[in-house]
């Protein structure tokens, strides 16, 4: 699912080489400037997060790397803060994430299995319908689903953020269907001859073989639940249930927060996705790219 690997440089006539050298130099130059544009803000934030209280946040010139102050305890202070305990928020978010993984992986792989490997009437129509549902904007669904969950008595619980995951998601179903189509049909046929039923084929053969695309799904689920602000904002009322996103948003919108602690909390929110990114870069990029190409 990764991007096609680079094609090796081919031998070029001599006159190209000199112009190529200056061209490469320029490309490197631009990219280094752009990398600085990306990295310096992060460095500044990290520096600020390590400052003691009551030092000015903004210095002239700005400091992009921590040199003077190394107050690592700012991170533990943000994690264990009495009013906004980011450690609890992290656990809350991970709980929602874990439940989303269970629900979404099972429901989406089941649907994808049917769409990719089974014959039934109305398949084409249902699949086209699935694609259309991806276009429905969240804004239209937000209010009536809120009213529905409210009437069910789920307001103030994490159920509205978890239960819908058990009912499939068009985007993931599409992604997994495309992957499952590439698994040889002979496997199913052999299993049927051996007397397996459809559920066994799904559970024992296709699901284990689909783990690469499920991994992509899990990565996306993490980024979605970790970053989701609107959902928790609408449904969660009690600080003890807050997710990291809403915790950070309420920290940031307070009157005069300690900027060093705010930046520490912000890094707590940024670091897990970044770690995930470094480990799952290929999967993530392959996932995003395949969506873009097939969309």
């Amino acid at each position: 699912m990764g991007l096609p690997s680079n094609i090796r440089g081919k031998k070029r006539p001599f006159q190209y080489r000199i112009s190529k050298f200056s061209k490469n130099f320029m490309v490197y130059g631009i990219l280094f400037i752009l990398c600085a544009f990306i990295l310096l803000p992060l460095g500044w934030m990290f520096t600020t997060a390590l400052r003691p209280d009551n030092t000015p946040t903004f210095t002239i010139p700005p400091e992009f790397f921590p040199t003077k102050y190394w107050h690592w305890e700012n991170f533990s202070r943000a994690l264990t803060n009495r009013n906004l305990p980011f450690f609890i928020f992290t656990l809350n978010t991970l709980k929602i994430f874990a439940l989303n993984v269970i629900g979404s992986v099972i429901s989406c792989t089941m649907c994808a299995f049917a769409f990719s490997r089974m014959r039934f009437r109305g398949k084409k129509m249902l699949f086209n319908f699935l694609l259309v549902t991806m276009l429905i904007p969240f804004a239209v669904l937000m209010i009536p689903t809120f009213i529905m969950f409210n009437k069910l008595g789920w307001y103030g619980t994490i159920l509205p953020l978890v239960v819908p995951a058990f009912f499939g998601n068009a985007f993931f179903i599409f992604l997994i269907t495309q992957y499952m189509k590439t698994i040889p049909v002979a496997l199913d046929e052999a299993a049927i001859i051996d007397g397996a039923n459809y559920f066994q084929i799904y559970w024992r053969i296709i699901l284990p073989l689909s783990m690469p695309v499920v991994a992509v799904q899990v990565v996306f689920l993490f980024l979605n639940t970790w970053g989701d602000l609107l959902g928790p904002l609408i449904y969660l009322t009690n600080t003890s249930q807050f997710t990291v996103a809403i915790g950070l948003a309420s920290f940031a919108t307070r009157e005069n927060p300690n900027n060093n602690l705010l930046m520490a909390a912000n890094l707590i929110m940024m670091i897990p996705p970044l770690i995930l990114f470094f480990f799952a870069q290929e999967k993530l990029i392959g996932g995003i790219a395949s969506v873009g190409l097939k969309g």
Binding site: C35, K124, P164, Y198, G227, N259, L293
Partner: protein, 317 residues
């Protein structure tokens, strides 16, 4: 998009009786689809119908809903917040979409060069795309601080005596959001890069033999073959502009001038969850659907003229 890998025509063509085996397969298939079908009914079609009905009512959730006909839709014509949120969103679209497309395209061409260390550079450029909007917004609220934030220190450093006051000013708040988007341009770049790598290298080789310049190769090969990607990005970024929430929510609460960042979805959020005008907010949501549907249809209808599809993908999707 072809829905089936193993479909044989005869199995689905006949509307009549299925063989027992095929009937069993069909039952099993619908069982597998059951969670999604239930989800569509309860979390999609039901809410859509409810939302449409709600848009003709006045309802604060506590007293019973009251039928008001088209009053909600008429109200928008005199609603300052509606005009403001529409203006903010449109301004953002006009600024961001051309800029982001050009930037992502340019960056992807750079990242597609076969150079040593490119993997590391790509990693850095893609990094911001995984960061949550809330976190990026909180960071930029500090970077864009008008007096001593690093953005304005830099601008003064290169000789701009009176740099914009960004989030604190009426005109520069939306450009500030665009700047944030530019910082995270890596996400869009990934898709362009994948598009670039899908272009057969033989085309460039043929152009080399014909003596084409780099610019000619870009305008005659790269750009036309990327039009499907550009088209896809255009549609998704239009839809995304109507869905901007996190950044606007955080920054409106953190120092930005009142109303300067009232994006469309934030206005809907305020009308419903702050002001409890659920009927009016539903009407706003439907206007959003209508506008995005029309925009997408218009763009789609022009696509024949500028989007190039290779023969083998024609007829799909």
């Amino acid at each position: 998009m072809e829905a089936s890998g193993l479909e044989t025509k005869s199995a689905t063509k006949k509307k009549g009786k299925l063989s027992p085996l095929a009937a069993r397969e069909e039952r099993a298939a619908y069982l597998f689809l059951l969670p999604w079908i239930l989800g569509v009914i309860f979390f999609l079609l039901g809410p859509i119908l409810a939302s449409f009905a709600l848009s003709f009512t006045k309802w604060n959730l506590f007293s019973p809903p009251e039928w008001v006909g088209l009053a909600n839709y008429q109200k928008m014509f005199h609603d300052r917040d509606f005009y403001n949120s529409m203006g903010v969103t449109l301004k953002y679209m006009l600024l961001s979409i051309p800029l982001f497309s050009a930037a992502a395209l340019g960056l992807s061409v750079l990242l597609n060069q076969k150079l040593r260390g490119m993997y590391v550079l790509r990693t850095v450029m893609f990094m911001p795309s995984v960061l949550a909007g809330t976190a990026v917004a909180v960071m930029f609220s500090m970077l864009l601080q008008p007096d001593a934030g690093i953005v304005n220190q830099f601008l003064r450093g290169i000789g701009i005596a009176n740099p914009p006051r960004w989030l604190m000013s009426e005109q520069w708040a939306v450009p500030a959001i665009v700047l944030m988007g530019l910082w995270g341009i890596g996400g869009g770049t990934i898709i362009y890069l994948a598009g670039l790598q899908n272009i057969p290298p033989t085309l460039y080789e043929a152009a080399d033999i014909d003596g084409a310049s780099a610019w000619q190769k870009f305008t005659r090969i790269t750009l036309p073959l990327l039009t499907p990607t550009i088209f896809f990005q255009l549609i998704t970024s239009l839809a995304a502009a109507f869905q901007i929430f996190d950044i606007a929510f955080v920054l409106s609460g953190r120092g930005a001038r009142r109303g300067a960042l009232m994006f469309y979805l934030l206005n809907i959020y305020n009308e419903s969850f702050r002001e409890s005008r659920f009927g009016y907010a539903s009407a706003l949501a439907w206007v959003l659907v209508l506008i995005s549907a029309i925009t997408i249809l218009v763009i789609n209808s022009t696509s024949n003229r500028w989007v190039y599809y290779e023969v083998d993908t024609k007829g799909e999707s």
